[in-house]
Symmetry: C2
Subunit: 462 residues, 2 copies
Amino acid sequence: MQVKVFLNEDEFPRQWYNLAADLPTPMQPPLGPDGKPITPDMLAPVFPMNLIEQEVSQERWIDIPEGILELLFRWRPTPLHRAVYLEKALGTPAKIYYKNESVSPPGSHKPNTAVAQAWYNKQFGIKNLTTETGAGQWGSALAFACALIGLECKVFMVRISFDQKPFRKIMMQTWGATCIASPSNQTHAGREILKVIPDTPGSLGIAISEAIEAAVTDKTGKTRYSLGSVLNHVMLHQTVIGLEAKKQLKKIGEKRVDIVIGCAGGGSNFAGLSFPFVADKISGADIEIIPVEPTSCPTMTRAPFVYDHGDTAKMTPLLPMYSLGHGFIPPPIHAGGLRYHGMAPLVCQAIVEGLLSPRAIDQNECYAAAVQFAKTEGIICAPETSHAIAAVIQEAKKAKEEGKEKVILFNMSGHGLMDLTGYENYFAGNLIDYPLPEEELQKSLKSLEGLPKPPANKSGKW
Amino acid sequence: MQVKVFLNEDEFPRQWYNLAADLPTPMQPPLGPDGKPITPDMLAPVFPMNLIEQEVSQERWIDIPEGILELLFRWRPTPLHRAVYLEKALGTPAKIYYKNESVSPPGSHKPNTAVAQAWYNKQFGIKNLTTETGAGQWGSALAFACALIGLECKVFMVRISFDQKPFRKIMMQTWGATCIASPSNQTHAGREILKVIPDTPGSLGIAISEAIEAAVTDKTGKTRYSLGSVLNHVMLHQTVIGLEAKKQLKKIGEKRVDIVIGCAGGGSNFAGLSFPFVADKISGADIEIIPVEPTSCPTMTRAPFVYDHGDTAKMTPLLPMYSLGHGFIPPPIHAGGLRYHGMAPLVCQAIVEGLLSPRAIDQNECYAAAVQFAKTEGIICAPETSHAIAAVIQEAKKAKEEGKEKVILFNMSGHGLMDLTGYENYFAGNLIDYPLPEEELQKSLKSLEGLPKPPANKSGKW
């Protein structure tokens, strides 16, 4: 039985898919501090104009430039696997497929947008990129992309991760990037915080502030900031995953997909796989599409749809999204990539429209799923990815109970070789589930008071 | 320009290539403690008979069973890349190709033989495998294979690595293997050493002794030992690398290869890529084939061709090979997989026959090459693999000087994401080269005194 489908480079999609063109209700614009829509010009000090144009584009299909294709072909197309061994272990009649994004050199789906963003910045005459990183997955992907393209790259890494995960830092260094513990003395924002709390462990919010400041205050005008998730153009670049998957399923004669699953922190790997299938659903296809998050950070399953800042320090515009509040401090679960208070506006809008069925799962169930996956399919997945696998196993068991030959597709968004501590804690029985208590949720939502509300959509929801 | 060649599963080789069938002089047999050739029966407590048959086979082509093909197809065929970006950086007229073995779930070429050995053991009715591991590359590959096949796996890991590289241990555990610090209290050999040196850091020699003892003393008769390099059947299983490469080169119209390069510790990744090309060389093709080793452990470049034990404790048979002496203690270079006193007898015999051109390189030059490779080709390689890349760069520069469009092929045997400490030391300028002093070599060679000598070959060499 064929358990893996490759695709040749000439079969690779030549255009990205933009879900914004097909959503029943148009996307709400990001708002400035004055509550008025942000204009492209206002974003110009932060991002190059060619990416800003993508960010606001309503075009359904956007051509992938030849230069970016060449970069993607370093490791793409990625294989589509059929998880026959997991299916057998579960005794399910379901057929389970997964895209293996772990084969990229940095080990995840993140480089899909990193190389595109680096390329557009280079085209625009930019010489330096700044970004932030938590656990290091995004920082290493951007460092990789900048090495290939020839850009300088500066990564502000949350101090606690900088100290606890030295390997990620060495990866970035090997690709020629500068990796700085945040808060740092290099920015006003960093210095102000260090004055007050010299031994702070840092946070993603602070690191974002530093990275944006470093970009906009650079006097050469040749520095911009890069973000690894949440924004529309990031979702766009990731759609190569789902577009490839469709071609691969067709290649082996699989005519339909019943369930599409991905984990979602900022939303990019989920969007990358699912958006081309969301398009089918909008056109009437009967598909269940499930973004999976941790119960400890239940943005999609328990937070309201609001306008909120993307960062703790309120430096970003207000984005229309489900949000736990920009002051939310997530518990220390191992899936660092899923500890975000908000969610990509495009993913949120699709939820509002009833196109997605979000689900939250405890981390112990996720690690149990990850271990079963490793023992059957052979790949040790990232802690984030384990959430997708846990949902897949739930659905495969349900298919067994119902006696239905469902076709399930999920995104194996990355390997876990740089994040094995979570497995160690799981084996030692030291892993704690942190379902968010209602009172903590309510307390965190207070930070949303006084912020504008998005208008109701056509069906009058939210 | 096409920078990557895939191969479909139906194009995958259906037979392994056995160099023993084509060597001008037949291989010398391994010898027992009495100096007489080892018979297959004598190996039966250690290995299953189906693998022993492969070990002594003179057949040129050996069918790959369907069950092993299925296992290999979890991640094979691996891509062949053209290193156009490295070529450009070097300004060389040479064309550089590499097999990317880092895409296997454990991240190296090791699973090629791990899944084959696990499968043959399972066929033979074996339930448990034991092995040893130094840095953990082989132990994790065998743990992976045993998980897929359904065998119990016990890995004796050298204590200093067990303590310093906890991630490798967690990988093995995730795949369901038991990983024990060696020396342990579980074997007579381990207990004897702990009595004398309770705080010993351990050694590969001790770990081999423990793993063999654990296999041969198991009263159920359902336990065997597995070795990840050196032996003939291991070289055989790895030839899928070179056989795939030939098909991929043909697919893109590359008609000849001038230079084939691989790093060599026990010899298996080098043999896997090169042996199908050694066959061409025996048939008259003009190819330079270069196994690369560290100057600190110069087995092929400075040691004599002798009969020596494979382990420090002299538990293994005597093998005909280049050896620094079984008492050799290699300096603490980062390429743990290249710190072996001997070399695969098949590789050694090919050297004796003048078919190979071994080369030794200092580790600082290797890390410089690895960093250049990471920044141009995007892949962070294993410390072992950096030796191959350093030799590739030497050859590419030579081609530039000579103005020749040489075609170079090398084995990217694994990624370095689990071994980034060496890069950190390199960046910090703390990396020391340890070219082996002549007096230390002579001292180590004393352990060979009194051992039998292999007879001269047809051309009267060694």
